[in-house]
């Protein structure tokens, strides 16, 4: 019974893997971890400096949070694991994005392409996401802080969209499909998910090893 993995399809936002002799529960663990525990960057704190648009500050902040940002996993740490002890964070746990836009003559659509990021890698996945439409004379100016987070805290941090485990054509065959929002590549998600499961199991193993069974009786 040897395990084998076959890549059936791979694009920038989708991967289809065929597993043979892989227990279904392990595969489902990978699927669930890649949805809820693989971290990505998303805008979390927004300091609105000026907003005379027709939308409320909160509504704009909500839209900003949902913009997928290209994430470099080994460069950042989760804010709760960072040693900076700063509420605004440091360069290891946050990225600053600013926007300063004004419509003077004509009505203008402000898009994600107008966001200026302090990190050259961390940028919106698409430059054409409309944030707000400004009528002449209206202004929008803010500072936004992007942080790492996981899907179990808020769906904006979910790196995957559809993640599916299903039966293959033959017996002992399973198919894993992972689609991404673009913040991470499917390959990065898969590797990171496996790493996370590995750390969890190692921690569990250590705890069990050091258990004092005698005192429990």
């Amino acid at each position: 019974m040897n395990l084998s993995i076959n890549v059936l399809q791979e694009t920038d936002e989708k991967i289809v893997l065929q597993f043979t002799n892989m227990p279904r529960q392990y595969l489902n663990a990978i699927r669930r971890i890649s949805i809820s525990e693989v971290p990505t960057l998303a805008i979390d704190d927004v300091v609105i400096l000026e907003n005379s648009s027709v939308m409320h500050d909160e509504a704009i902040a909500h839209r900003l949070g949902l913009i997928p940002l290209r994430t470099e996993l080994n460069k950042f740490v989760l804010p709760q694991h960072c040693d900076c002890n700063n509420t605004l964070g440091c360069s290891k746990c946050r990225v600053l994005l600013i926007l300063d836009s004004e419509s003077t003559e004509k009505t203008r659509i402000v898009t994600s392409g107008d966001l200026v990021s302090e990190d050259e890698f961390v940028k919106p996945v698409s430059m054409n996401i409309p944030i707000i439409t400004l009528a002449p004379g209206q202004k929008l100016k803010f500072e936004a802080y992007a942080r790492l987070g996981t899907g179990k805290d808020h769906a904006k941090w979910q790196p995957t969209t559809a993640a599916i485990v299903k039966d293959g054509n033959d017996a002992n065959e399973s198919i894993l499909i992972i689609e991404t929002t673009g913040s991470l590549t499917p390959e990065e998600i898969l590797k990171s998910a496996v790493n996370i499961i590995n750390t969890k199991l190692t921690t569990l193993g250590d705890v069990v090893k050091n258990l004092d069974f005698q005192s429990a009786i």
Binding site: V54, M55, A59, R63, L66, I67, P68, T107, I109, S112, V125, S126, M127, N128, I129, P130, I131, I132, T133, A135, P136, G137, Q138, A155, Q158, T160, T161, A162, E179, T181, G182
Partner: protein, 77 residues
């Protein structure tokens, strides 16, 4: 107000494709074909674009008029 950034159900990014979708449908293309060519496969994402109404464009004209009035008043005085 504006088109939602992501699909409510699955989280796929859809907002960046809406302007393109709107223009192509306006020019007479079949909705289903436009959605197919934009790579929007699931019906949860497809309904986001099909049923999207951007109410912000019902509000914006008032601010445009307001601005025009203001400039007229300034040039009068």
């Amino acid at each position: 107000m504006l088109i939602p950034v992501r699909c409510f159900t699955c989280g796929t990014l859809i907002a960046d494709k809406y302007t393109d979708y709107k223009e192509r449908v306006k020019s007479g293309e079949q909705e289903s074909q436009v959605l197919d060519s934009l790579g929007i496969k699931r019906y949860c994402c497809r309904r986001m674009l099909i049923s999207g109404v951007e109410t912000i464009y019902q509000v914006i004209p008032y601010y445009e008029v307001l601005r025009r009035r203001l400039t007229e008043m300034q040039s009068d005085s």
